[in-house]
Symmetry: D2
Subunit: 396 residues, 4 copies
Amino acid sequence: MSFQNPVFIPGPTNMPEQIRKACDMPTIDHRSPTFGGILTPCLENVRKILKSVSAQVFIFPSTGTGGWETALTNTLSAGDKVLAARNGMFSHRWIDMCQRHGLDVHIVETPWGAGLPADRYAEILAADTGHEIKVVLATHNETATGVRSDIGAVRKALDDAGHPALLFVDGVSSIASMDFRFDEWGVDVAVTGSQKGFMLPPGLAILGFSDKAIDAAATAKLPRTFFDIADMTKGYAANAFPYTPPVGLMNGLKLASDMLLEEGLENVFARHHRIAEGVRAAVDAWGLELCAVSPDVYSDTVSAIRTPTGFNATDIVTHAANTYGVAFGVGLGEVAGKVFRIGHLGSLTDVMMLSGLATAEMCMADLGLDVTLGSGVAAAQEYYRSNPSVSALIAA
Amino acid sequence: MSFQNPVFIPGPTNMPEQIRKACDMPTIDHRSPTFGGILTPCLENVRKILKSVSAQVFIFPSTGTGGWETALTNTLSAGDKVLAARNGMFSHRWIDMCQRHGLDVHIVETPWGAGLPADRYAEILAADTGHEIKVVLATHNETATGVRSDIGAVRKALDDAGHPALLFVDGVSSIASMDFRFDEWGVDVAVTGSQKGFMLPPGLAILGFSDKAIDAAATAKLPRTFFDIADMTKGYAANAFPYTPPVGLMNGLKLASDMLLEEGLENVFARHHRIAEGVRAAVDAWGLELCAVSPDVYSDTVSAIRTPTGFNATDIVTHAANTYGVAFGVGLGEVAGKVFRIGHLGSLTDVMMLSGLATAEMCMADLGLDVTLGSGVAAAQEYYRSNPSVSALIAA
Amino acid sequence: MSFQNPVFIPGPTNMPEQIRKACDMPTIDHRSPTFGGILTPCLENVRKILKSVSAQVFIFPSTGTGGWETALTNTLSAGDKVLAARNGMFSHRWIDMCQRHGLDVHIVETPWGAGLPADRYAEILAADTGHEIKVVLATHNETATGVRSDIGAVRKALDDAGHPALLFVDGVSSIASMDFRFDEWGVDVAVTGSQKGFMLPPGLAILGFSDKAIDAAATAKLPRTFFDIADMTKGYAANAFPYTPPVGLMNGLKLASDMLLEEGLENVFARHHRIAEGVRAAVDAWGLELCAVSPDVYSDTVSAIRTPTGFNATDIVTHAANTYGVAFGVGLGEVAGKVFRIGHLGSLTDVMMLSGLATAEMCMADLGLDVTLGSGVAAAQEYYRSNPSVSALIAA
Amino acid sequence: MSFQNPVFIPGPTNMPEQIRKACDMPTIDHRSPTFGGILTPCLENVRKILKSVSAQVFIFPSTGTGGWETALTNTLSAGDKVLAARNGMFSHRWIDMCQRHGLDVHIVETPWGAGLPADRYAEILAADTGHEIKVVLATHNETATGVRSDIGAVRKALDDAGHPALLFVDGVSSIASMDFRFDEWGVDVAVTGSQKGFMLPPGLAILGFSDKAIDAAATAKLPRTFFDIADMTKGYAANAFPYTPPVGLMNGLKLASDMLLEEGLENVFARHHRIAEGVRAAVDAWGLELCAVSPDVYSDTVSAIRTPTGFNATDIVTHAANTYGVAFGVGLGEVAGKVFRIGHLGSLTDVMMLSGLATAEMCMADLGLDVTLGSGVAAAQEYYRSNPSVSALIAA
C-alpha cells in the first residue's frame, strides 16, 4: 500500500494534512454541547458554500448515493413522475434509484459527453400542463464524462413553462469546487458528499433543501427512517442527530468549510479552473480529445480523455497503478474502455498535477500510443507559469 | 474541547491509538486491488466475531440505525407482520422504524429493565399457526437499560413453535464485546455498528445475513437502493462497493477485528465482564440499584443505575460534564431522569474505570446524594485486585 | 505496548492531543520563512514563561542534560569554581557533569528531601571574598525527591554577599508548571526540557540566558560546537539553526507555549498545585510520608512517597506496571527502594489523578502494605470537590 | 504553511506515512521493558544497515553535528592531530568543529565538486611516520556539492601506509540510501542522522563505533557528558539512556530500519540510484552541469546543479518557494549562488521527482534561463520508463 504519490481520481481527493487531523478526533460525548460547536458551523458553512441564504442543510453518515435517496424519499411517493436526462453513469444511477423506488421516470437519453438538454426539458415541461412531473433531476457535473451542465438553463426551462416541479441537483463532484448557486438557480435539493470538493474522507451525504422541498415531505409517502429529514431537523434543534453522528468527519467538515470560505469561493473555483486548464492544454498537446463535446461543458474537476479507437483506455489506468503507483479513473458504462479520467479537484497543486500528467505520458508511451514525452507537461507548464495562481488552500 | 479524560458513555467508546491511526488513512483508489486487501479480511473477521461459518457480512457507510433499515428493507414488504418486544429506547426505535416502513408490528410491551419475554414470544409464535409473522426482532443488549436478553431462548421459542419466521438481532452494543452466537442461535440478520465493541468512530453499519435472510430479498418489496444487499454483493465480488466505500473506517475495522481475534473472543468477553463486575460492585457499595431487574440480564457493556426517587439522575451527567469534564450517559425515554448510565465497553481498563467511578462518586456527593466518597471505588478495587485481568487489548 | 492508561511518571508527561498533532508535522524546508514563523514565537513565548523581559532563549535538539552542558560550556573554563548543593539525583548529575568538564565544584551535601541550603550558600559566598566562585548551581525542583527549593533565597545569598557569581537554575521539572521568575530571581541561566511542563515529547533543551551569562561566553574556554550559543544566535538572526532544527518539536512548542500563556501562567501553576494537593491528601490518608521534609518544599509536579522500613518501594512501581499497566517512578540513588514517585505535571486532570491514586492503593494492598482501599482516593476526592478547578488546559 | 507538494531538499526528506505515525507515539515509561523493545532492534538494525557485524551503535537525541562531536570528544584530546580534506560546506564544518575543540587539523584543500583526494591522504599518511595523526576524517557524501567520495580508497591509503589512525566517516547523507560498508572499509566511527536516509524527522544522531574507536575513549581527554559513549553503553545495558530518550523518534527508527532491511539494502541503493539518474538525465537535457566534476563522484542522494555564469542560482530556490510552493536547496559557502540543489533521497518516487523537475523547469524559464519546458522532464521520463523500478519502499 503506497501513499507516496497523490491520487488523480475524481474523488475521493487528496486530503490536506489539517483536515485529516481534524477528522482523527478522540471520542467525545455526541450529546454534549461540544458537538453543537461542531454541528452548527457545519450547517452554516455548507449553506454559504451552496450560495444560499435559506437552504436547510442536512448531513447524513452516508454517501452521495444516500444523498440521492434522501432527496427522493423525503419528497416523493411511489408512482410520482420524475424528469431526468441520462448523459453518464451517475445520472444513470440516480434514474435507476428512482425506478427502484417505484417512481415513474421520464428519461431523456442524451449523448455521453453532452450536457443536460435544457431545451428538451423545456419542451417536456411545457407539454406537462397537468404538472404531473413532480421533480426534475439534474446532474450538475457528470463525473463519468467530465461534463458540467447549465443548471440555470434548467431553472429557466421550469420558469418558462411556469412549472412547479422541484429541481434536484446532483452536485457531488461540483459543489465546493465549481460555482454552484442554490438560490439563484432555484435549486430545491442539492446533493453532495464529503470526499470531493470538501476534501474529506468518504462518509457524509451533504444536502441543502429549499422550503418548498421540505414542505413536500408532508405528503411524501416513500418510506424513510434513516434518511428522514424531519427526524434530522428535530435532532439538530437539540444539537444532536437522531442516531450516532459521525463526529470526526463533521469536525473535518467544519475545518474544510472554514478553509474554503476563508480562501473565498470565487478563488476556490478559479483555483480548480486553473488546474483544469493545464490538464486540458496537455490533452490538446497529446493530440487527444475530451469526452466533453465542447468547451462550454468542460468540467473543472474531472477530465475524461478519449483514446484512439482500438485502444483500451482502461489499460492506462491499470498500467499507471501497477507500474508507477498512480491512480487515474477508468471509463464507466458507455464510455468504458474509451476514456480514462484524470481527477483534478480538491487538495491539488499545479506541481502535483504535473506529476500526474507526466505519468499519463509515460503510460501512453509504454502502451504504444503516439505521444511525445514531455509534450503535455510542457503545455501545462506553459499554462501554469503564464497564469499564476491567485490563491491556495488556506494553511493546507 | 477536552480530550484528556476517557469517556464513559455506552458508545462511541474510547478508541485505541492504533485503531485511530488505521482509520486516519491517506486517499487510495477504492477501485484498486488495495481496497480488496482491506475489504476481504473485514468480511472474514466480522463473520468469525459473529461466530458464524456461513453468514454473509455486509458493511455500509451508515450507523446501527441504517443497519436496522438494511435488515428490514431487504427482507420484507409493506404490510408484513413483525413480532417485537419493547423494553427500552432502542427496541422502541426499531419498532418505530418498522411502522414507518408500513410493517405490522405485534408489540409485546415489556418492563424497561426486564429482558425479552421469550415465553411470550413462544405463546405468540405458537398461536401464529398461519405463519403470518415474517420476522421476530430481538434486541440483544438494550443500551438504554443495560439489559442483556437471552437470544437462545428466542430461538427456542421459534423452534418449539416450528415457526419459520426470520430472527433479526440488534447486537449494536453486544457484538464484539459480549458473547454472540450467530450460527448456534440461528440468527438470520445480526446488526451492529463500528463505534461500540469494534472501538472505531461511528460511520459503519455492520451486518450478518443468513442464507435464509438473503433468500427473502427475492420477494421483499420495500424499496431500497443505498441499503440494497444485492448491489453490495455484486460490488464485493469485484472488491468494490456500489458507491464510494469508507476506506479509512474499513481499514480501522480490519485492524480492530484482527486485534479482537488475536486476543480471543472469550478473552474479550471476559475482559468486559470483569470491568462490568467492578462497576456493579461499586453500585452496590453506593446502595443503589441497577435498572436491570436481575443478574441474569445484567449487561457487560453498560450499566443503567437508578437514583433515589425525587432525584434527577440527569443532573449527575450534566454535573460530571461541566465540573469534571467526564461523559456519562443520560436516561432515555421511560427512564429519563431515573437512571444515569455508565458505559464500560471497548477500549477501557480497570484503571480507567476507577476514575469514572471516582467521578460518579464526587458528582453524587456534590449533588447531595448520600454516597460515601471512595466507597464504590474501594468495592471495585477489591474486585479488580481479587480477579486479575486475564487478557488485554492486543497492542492497545 | 498499552497506551490506554495515563502515565504518572514525573516526565515525560501525558501529551495533549493537539500538541501531538502539532509535532507530527510533514517536512518543510527549515531554511524557509515558514520556519521563522515557528521559531520566533517559540523564543518569545518561552521568555514570557520564564517571566523575563530580556532573557535570550535558546532551544537545542537535545535534553535537559544537554541544557546543563550548554550552560556550563558557554560560560566557564576548565578549573573554574562552581558552588552546588547535592540534595538528589539530578543535582548530583549536574555536579558530576561539572567535574567531568574539569570544573572545581564546592559541593554542599544536603539531605535528600531537604531544599537547597541558602544559608550555607550565603556563608560560602560571603567567605569567597576573592570571588573565585564563578557559578552557583541551583536545582529548582529535585525530581528525585519531590523537593522545590527557594531560588529567591539563593539570589538573596548572592546579593547579600555582593557576589558576582552567575546563578544557574535547573528548572527542568518546574518551568511551565510551577512559578519561575527569571528576572525577579536574577537567574543567569535557566534550563529546562520539552517533556515536562511543556507536555511535548523529549528532544528539546530549552534555556534562557541573561546578558551577563552571554557575556561570559567571550572568555569561556570549555570547548563547544553543538551547544554553542553564539552559533545559535547567528542562526536565529537568519531564522535558522546552525544545523537541522527539530521542526516538528518546535511546532509543538509553539502551540504548547501558546496554550500555557492563553490559560495564564498563574492558572497553570494553580492547576498543578490543586492536583498535587489531592495527591498529598491521599498520601496522608494512607498514613505515609513524603520524602520532602516540610510543606515549604513540597513540589507541585512530583511527589516522592516514603514506604515503611523493610519494604522495597520499587516493588510498587514494578507491580503497577506488570499488573495494572500503570507507570509510576522509582526512587533513584540514595532513596532507591525507599520511595516511589507519582508525577503530577503536564496534561493531567483530577479525574486522571484519581485513577493513579486508586492504582497505587491496589498495588500497596496487593503487596501487603496496611492501606485501606479507597482511603487515599476519598481524601483526594474530598479535596478536589471542595477546591474546584479554576482553569483547564486550553483546548486540551 | 503548505504541505501539499513534496520537498526536494537534501534532507530532511519526505516522510512515509507509517513512519510519521510510528514517531507520533503516546508517552510511555522510558524506564520500562517496553523501551527495550524499541531500543534493541534499533541498535541491531542500524548495525546491519552500516554493513557491520560488530560495530557498537549509539543513538543520541541530537543531530549529525552532535554525531560529529560524539566522534571527536570520545576519542581525542586537545592538541591531537587530525587529517581532513575540505571539499564542501559539511567537511568544512567538521574541520571547524575540530579546531574549536583544540584539535590540530591538517587540512587538504580540495576543489568543491571533487571527491576526497585519497592520493593526497596516502602521501600525508605515509609521511607521518611518527603516527601523530590520530584520526582521518572523510565525508562520504558532500551534501553541499552532491559529491560521493571513495571511502575504500581512504582505507587503502591508511593500510598502504600501515597507519593506525582511526577513520571517521560522515555518512549523514549517504547511510541508508547509498552503499556504506563499515566493516569492509574499516570505518572506526560512522556518523549519520535521522532525517536523511532513515526518512525520520530530525532529532537523532546515529553512530557506529569500532572496538578500536571505543578503546580510544579510555585515553581521550576532551570533556564530554551528554555525548559520552560510556554512559550510553551503561544505559543501553539496562535498556535505558543516561537521560530521557527520544522514544517516539526511536520508535520511528525501529520501523524505518525494519522497512529498509525488508526492502533489502541493495534495492534501497538501486532505488536511489534510479531516481538520481533521472535527475541527471534532466540536467543534461537542460544543457546544465553538475557541480560534481565526474560521474564517479555523482551522488545518488543530492544533485548540485551549476547555473550559467552571471545567474544567481539561489533565485531558482526562492522563486520555486514563492511561486510554486516547492523547496529546493540553495548553494552553500563557495558555491553559494552558483548552484541550486535537488535532494533525491528518502521517501520519493519517480512520479514525485518528475514534479520537482517540472517545477525547476518552470522556475528557470520564469527567470529567463534558456531551458525548454518539458525537456528535462522528458529525459527523466525516458529514463524512468526504460529502467523500471525494481523495488519500492515497503508499505510506504
